[in-house]
């Protein structure tokens, strides 16, 4: 009995779905939802296989690396695929109510191509193939941002496109250097062959710079708030929850496998920039008057936490960072969806004008508040587990100063989340006409927020998944 | 023989660089465009020479693609750029 190669299905299914949606624009929603469900089934299939048999490697075309391209699925890729599937399903459901028919015909094929790119990226074991997936991801994301129309969205999309292309080219130059130094583009083979040389340092600098730009680490975050704030709500959710994480994932892979001999100095730099992002993003979020911009700056801050694992570089720290990534994906998707609902309901997203939304849109506000719990890092949310692990790693490594950043960041997050919730309960000065929000949009947001909480309650299971294939090395179990 | 062909190619490359002057200083867009077209022709010639000199017959395909594609830029220039200016003069 031949095994079904789930990793191939995970890439080809959304690709086929995207083509089908493009060909039958009138049936786009139905076809898209079927595809989304199919992808969830494939992730479950792959998950089962990985749990039973351990990390999986699949040689596309029967040509093994270094000549061909390998797909690789270990615990790390599996968790990324899972969170993509959950958030993707939520966004698919949410977008039914959000887009009118004409826009849906554009949204669905682009979104499914983006999903294809994400799945392909998380499964790729080849740095040049990763470049192609990055380009696919970038172009689809830019087109989705521009879907909102209007001057703000168009200029934001333009800026995003230029940044994304620049970053991809830096990455590609790094790939060129690595290939010509070691004769392969396969991550595992490079990991065996790599030894420090000026070319490796240059490649490391270029690839890291490109990927940091794409994952918007302070001070390279300037493009993120306008793009994430002016996109349509489901797209904002997508970008903040998944797209920025994709480039962070590549960075993580490269640093875990190819660049470990580079030592601690670059890691410290990442940590410092991450801390700056936590503080700066938090302060900026607090200062915003518009809800979507507040959430976008909160993304800048939250992305900062992920980089705190680099100076600590222990297994616990990596796991904590990944845990934060997963819970942030779910919580931020919930927040942007809730913001989309409020925008639809009130007709604007000025925070001071949130005229008693809490009483009038209880499900949405519950979703926002629950997502806020995870963003702040309060128990029993996924965010709490992630921060706890980072805290533990910092204390164990004797680098207590990161603890201060973790606490300050949490306080700032608490301040901006409660600012929104506070205004949501009070009557606004100017009253406006409100419009109805579809049920699917409200419940999709709540489902995402609940998933973020659930991640805190079932912590042991994801942590055991992270052990598969030992992406973070063995050693200190925590 | 090789030296003769390579020398010719080099000479053509030099004309190409000399032709840049027209692109930079040509008073009207048409001048600049024509200079660029001349580039294409020179490149075709040097490719044909190189094909002979290096004994690589497939370079002739490259030359052919050059020759064909030069027409597209020219027509794009005429159709888009030219009509706009004609309208400006003719309509008022």
């Amino acid at each position: 009995m031949r095994q079904i190669p789930w990793e191939v299905m995970l890439i080809m299914l959304p690709l086929t779905g995207a083509m089908a949606c493009f060909f039958w624009p009138r049936r786009a929603i139905t076809l898209g939802l079927i595809t989304a469900l199919g992808v969830v089934v494939c992730v479950a299939g792959l998950g089962w296989r990985v749990l039973e048999q351990g990390a999986q490697r699949y040689a596309v075309g029967g040509w093994n690396a270094p000549l061909g391209i390998d797909l690789y699925a270990d615990g790390l890729s599996l968790l990324m695929l899972m969170v993509t599937a959950v958030v993707g399903l939520g966004i698919s459901v949410y977008s039914i109510g959000y887009f009118e028919r004409r826009q849906a015909a554009h949204f669905w094929p682009l979104w499914l191509f983006l999903w294809t790119a994400l799945n392909a990226l998380f499964l790729s074991a080849d740095i040049f193939n990763l470049y192609v997936t990055l380009e696919l991801l970038g172009l689809a994301a830019v087109a989705l941002v521009a879907l909102a129309g209007g001057a703000n969205a168009l200029t934001a999309a333009m800026r995003y496109l230029l940044v994304s292309l620049l970053a991809s080219l830096c990455y590609l130059l790094g790939v060129a250097l690595l290939y010509h130094n070691f004769g392969s583009v396969d991550i595992a083979i490079l990991a065996q062959r790599v030894e420090l040389s000026p070319a490796v340092w240059a490649a490391m600098g270029l690839m890291s710079a490109g990927l940091l730009l794409k994952s918007a680490l302070f001070p390279l975050h300037f493009w993120l708030p306008p793009a994430h704030a002016s996109a349509p709500a489901p797209v904002s959710a997508l970008l903040s929850a998944l797209v920025v994480k994709a480039s962070f994932y590549i960075l993580l892979r490269l640093w875990l496998e190819i660049f470990p001999p580079a030592g601690a100095a670059p890691g410290q730099l990442f940590g410092v920039l991450g801390s700056a992002a936590v503080l700066w993003g938090g302060i900026q979020a607090l200062r915003q008057t518009r809800l979507k911009l507040l959430i976008a700056y909160s993304t800048v801050a939250q992305l900062g936490y992920l980089f705190l694992a680099f100076p600590l570089a222990s297994s616990v720290a990596w796991k904590g960072s990944l845990y934060l990534l997963l819970s942030h994906a779910l919580a931020k998707a919930a927040m942007f969806m809730a913001a989309g609902n409020i925008l639809r309901f009130c007709g604007h997203d000025r925070i001071v004008g949130l005229d008693r939304v809490a009483q009038r849109l209880p499900v949405t506000m519950t979703a926002f508040a629950l997502a806020g719990v995870s963003i702040i890092g309060l128990p029993p949310s996924g965010g709490f587990i992630g921060k706890w692990m980072l805290l533990e790693a910092a204390l164990r490594a004797g680098q207590w100063w990161w603890v201060i950043i973790l606490i300050l960041g949490g306080l700032l997050a608490g301040a901006y989340v409660f600012k929104v919730i506070g205004y949501a309960f009070t009557r606004a000065g100017v009253l406006r006409q409100t419009s109805r929000v579809p049920m699917t949009m409200e419940w999709a947001a709540l489902a995402m927020a609940l998933a973020a909480l659930l991640l805190g309650l079932v912590a042991l299971w994801p942590l055991s998944l992270m052990e598969i294939g030992l992406p973070f090395g063995g050693g200190d179990a925590g | 023989m090789d030296i003769f062909y390579s020398g010719m190619a080099l000479f053509l490359l030099m004309t190409l660089i000399a032709g840049l002057w027209r692109v930079l200083h040509g008073p009207t867009p048409a001048d600049r465009m024509l200079a660029a077209q001349l580039f294409g022709t020179t490149a075709v010639a040097s490719l044909l020479l190189l094909a002979q000199a290096l004994d690589k017959p497939h370079l002739r395909d490259v030359a052919l693609v050059f020759a064909l594609l030069a027409a597209v830029t020219a027509v794009a220039f005429i159709r888009r750029a030219w009509t706009v200016w004609e309208e400006e003069e003719g309509d008022e």
Partner: protein, 229 residues
């Protein structure tokens, strides 16, 4: 237009940037100089497997066979760019088209020649320089020439025939890959006796799609009579 060369940055910023970038370039140049003297690429692996690849041109073998998955995703990139352009709005078709005898004469002669050239490049790509992308771009050039010179916009072709043309390459590639998955047991794993034929089949479809997509990208928007009207 004259303001295009103007910059909004102060001279100090520009000099600082220049200095920084010169340092970067210097570092990169130094890194290049320290690379091993002999190339350490994959030439040997490629030539060792050429016999079973189905073609004689190593670049085509890499593009469609050894690393065909990259090419598959790249076809998706091309389509996504088109989707993005289409989602931005509809194309403005020429407002006024004057009959220009010279132009139609030129196009009448050139377009068939280009289509012929595209076919030639596609065919020759199996054992000499050429292949789907080169052929597709020449085909696109022919399409652009026709678009630029046609008196009437081919409205009737802008509905589903256009969409079929756009999807053909990616669709064929995907379909062949998935069929092979169930027949020979590996995604995009060509049986060596069929490899040549399958590669030509994929390339033919890809050429058509690349040509149509690039020509459609040139329009700069969704054709007016498109599916979303």
């Amino acid at each position: 237009m004259s303001a295009a060369g103007r910059s909004r940055h102060s001279p100090a910023f520009r000099w600082g940037l220049l200095l920084l970038l010169l340092t970067v370039a210097g570092g990169l140049g130094y890194a290049l100089l320290t690379l091993p003297d002999q190339a350490v690429g994959l030439s040997e692996q490629v030539s060792a497997n050429m016999a079973t690849s189905g073609v004689q041109n190593p670049v085509t073998a890499v593009l469609i066979n050894f690393r065909g998955y990259d090419t598959l995703l790249e076809m998706a990139v091309l389509l996504v760019a088109l989707l993005g352009v289409w989602s931005l709005g509809s194309a403005e078709v020429h407002r006024r088209i004057d009959p220009q005898p010279v132009l139609s004469l030129l196009v009448g002669g050139l377009a068939p020649l280009m289509i012929l050239m595209a076919g030639y490049l596609l065919w020759v790509g199996a054992n000499a320089p050429g292949g789907a992308f080169q052929a597709g771009s020449v085909l696109a050039a022919a399409g652009i020439l026709l678009l630029l010179s046609s008196k009437r916009f081919p409205v009737r072709l802008m509905g589903w025939p256009l969409r079929i043309g756009l999807l053909l390459g990616l669709g064929t590639f995907t379909a062949v890959g998935m069929t092979l998955l169930f027949v020979s047991g590996g995604f995009l794993q060509y049986p060596s006796n069929l490899a040549g034929a399958l590669i030509l089949f994929i390339e033919a479809a890809a050429t058509l799609s690349i040509g149509v997509t690039l020509a459609a990208l040139f329009l700069g928007g969704r054709p007016q009579a498109g599916p979303y009207r």
